[in-house]
Symmetry: C2
Subunit: 336 residues, 2 copies
DNA sequence: CGTATATGGTTACACGTGTTACGCGGATCC
DNA sequence: GGATCCGCGTAACACGTGTAACCATATACG
């Protein structure tokens, strides 16, 4: 099977030749430099580029610039935002508008440094990751590689890198506040372990804080998303004295699983226990009782994050107010 | 805010200087060329590289080589495989073992050519996408850009590009066959429209074919994943004469939504209608009736796809048998 | 008229890598 | 002992960009 080399992609030199100008001129026109170029030649260049279907070579460009126009997002994405896939989709679109390309890359087992080395090879303009424990060495490695690491932090800005103060626990806070406002005084927070432990921890802290401020109690319940996992976690809730009045579940999936587990031990939702999730998944609106939930305004969030990254790359300070302005929205249905 | 330039990452020249050799020697050692290098210098180079934490610049390498060692996967991923996220995770790991890096990139509105142009800029070694209608111009554009486009096709290999003959409809086929084997003679297939229309079409075709071969009938039901969408799609099923005996739903979410809709019109699952999904989502095992479903052996699948891509890039023909050997697995629970 | 100034274009270099072709010393062969 | 070969290392080029420095021409100004 002799491999037939495909014809090479046209370069800016080809465009220049076709337009009858130098390569430098092509570059000036296509990149909109402040260097003055006459209108006629400008049009000739643009026409030539279009006819040849010219697309600049990202590698060469990145090499020359010292970095690419790429924002790297490690996966499995630990952002833990409700509606994660749509968030990524929106973020991609928004970054594109700002001249940046979103790339998602495996996190290589989250071992921090190992992954960071892979990312560094790509010389992205930014890496957008979660500020968890153990992030620091990775950030420093990236920093040495010349990338502006952009963190997604909880409440507090971290000292060693610029931070987008996106409050991942906001959904939990809004949910807990709603439960408290409805008069519930004994709260519980259902969270998973494993890879999402860091996020779970933060959400739990938010719930605990809201409860304390309102003079209510809060209990943390860890479980796996399996039949036995959920069932055993709530087994003793058949006893009214030993169960909470209201539960915030990590996401809608957990919430639905919880409701089913409660049904089996004859605990009614919302009469006996109120349940609220987060993420606004389709199933939540379909199953009964319809799930009360909290979600971010995903498009707005994506827009704010994108512009924040752009500002940071341009050397501006970021507008913390704009980030905080993206509120979590409550969707009240039947379950709470 | 004066941006402090970070110290530039060490280059192969730095390594060469430190080892007291030329840059060419460094390259030979680090890339394992067949060019002979004495053992002492080899060690010196390796030591220097390690001490400086040298990592080659991917852009420069890609520029020189004409392509990067990257496999691009457009998002939102139209692979439509059950268990998509874990598949991606596994694929990433497998490709890494073979010296390739998986990158996920927005598909820019799936407009085919527009997206393809973005991908082409990155000069990936391969683009792994779905062979749907309208894919051809994109493939040709990529081909001209020098990338080996690797398609994920249904039954048939497409003529204009190498194909990994992964049967996306296999889950549907296995599911339908199970339903037929259980004696059901009037089948239905619940599928979504919108972005997943192509995949839906293929799965529906598979169900129809299995039904025909078995002398059974099959009906296609299109609906959205909303309360009204599902409810109105099956509204007339309260009449036993007008409803199917068994339904294959596009995925577990649809299946669960369907079961709920049927419950509301007093149609029992599985007594009145058998329901089978695909994807093996956690909720399916938790809710009642527990969902019978079909899924791929995701790790095996990822391994086969990764090695296929590698073989293709190395100019070898791919091993169709290995791909087909990855079977869809049936998980029988209560709903069918 | 001589000189500063804007306008429009080009030349030339650097980014970091992989690799081909070459040089040099020493061993081998007749 | 000269021709030949082999082991080891290096010089030099090319990949496709972006841009600073430079040049030529036409125009404004005193």
């Amino acid at each position: 099977m002799s491999a037939v080399l495909p014809p090479p992609r046209p370069t800016s030199a080809d465009v220049a030749r076709r337009a009858g100008v130098s390569r430098a001129t092509v570059s000036h026109v296509l990149n909109g430099t402040d260097h003055p170029i006459s209108e006629p030649t400008r049009r000739r260049v643009l026409a030539a580029a279009r006819e040849l279907q010219y697309a600049p070579n990202a590698s060469a460009r990145a090499l020359r610039a010292g970095r690419s126009n790429t924002v790297l997002l490690p996966m499995p994405v630990s952002l833990g935002l409700p509606g994660q896939d749509t968030f990524i989709e929106h973020l991609d679109r928004e970054l594109d508008k700002l001249g940046l390309a979103l790339l998602i890359h495996g996190d290589r087992g989250a071992s921090g440094v190992k992954g960071a080395r892979s990312w560094a090879e790509l010389r992205p303009a930014a890496v957008y990751l979660d500020a968890a424990r153990g992030t620091r060495p990775a950030v420093e490695l990236l920093h040495r590689a010349g990338v502006q690491a952009v963190l997604l932090s909880s409440v507090q800005a971290v000292p060693y890198a610029p931070t987008i103060p996106l409050d991942q626990a906001a959904v939990a806070r809004v949910a807990a506040q709603y439960l408290v406002d409805r008069g519930h005084r004994r709260l519980a927070c259902l969270v998973p372990g494993g890879g999402r432990a860091a996020l779970a921890e933060r959400r739990w802290a938010a719930v605990a804080e809201v409860a304390r401020a309102a003079g209510a109690s809060a209990e943390r319940v860890d479980c796996e998303l399996t039949e036995d996992g959920v069932a055993s976690a709530v087994a003793h809730w058949h006893d009214p004295a030993r169960r909470p009045e209201a539960v915030y579940a990590f996401n809608d999936e957990f919430a639905l699983a919880l409701i089913e587990a409660l049904r089996r031990i004859r605990v009614g939702v919302p009469e006996d226990v109120a349940v609220i999730g987060s993420g606004n998944q389709p199933l939540g609106a379909i199953l009964r009782p319809a799930l009360t939930t909290v979600r971010f305004d995903v498009p707005a969030l994506a827009r704010v994050v994108a512009t924040s990254i752009r500002r940071l790359l341009d050397g501006h300070a970021l507008d913390a107010a704009a980030v905080k302005a993206v509120a979590a929205q409550l969707i009240v249905r039947e379950s709470a």
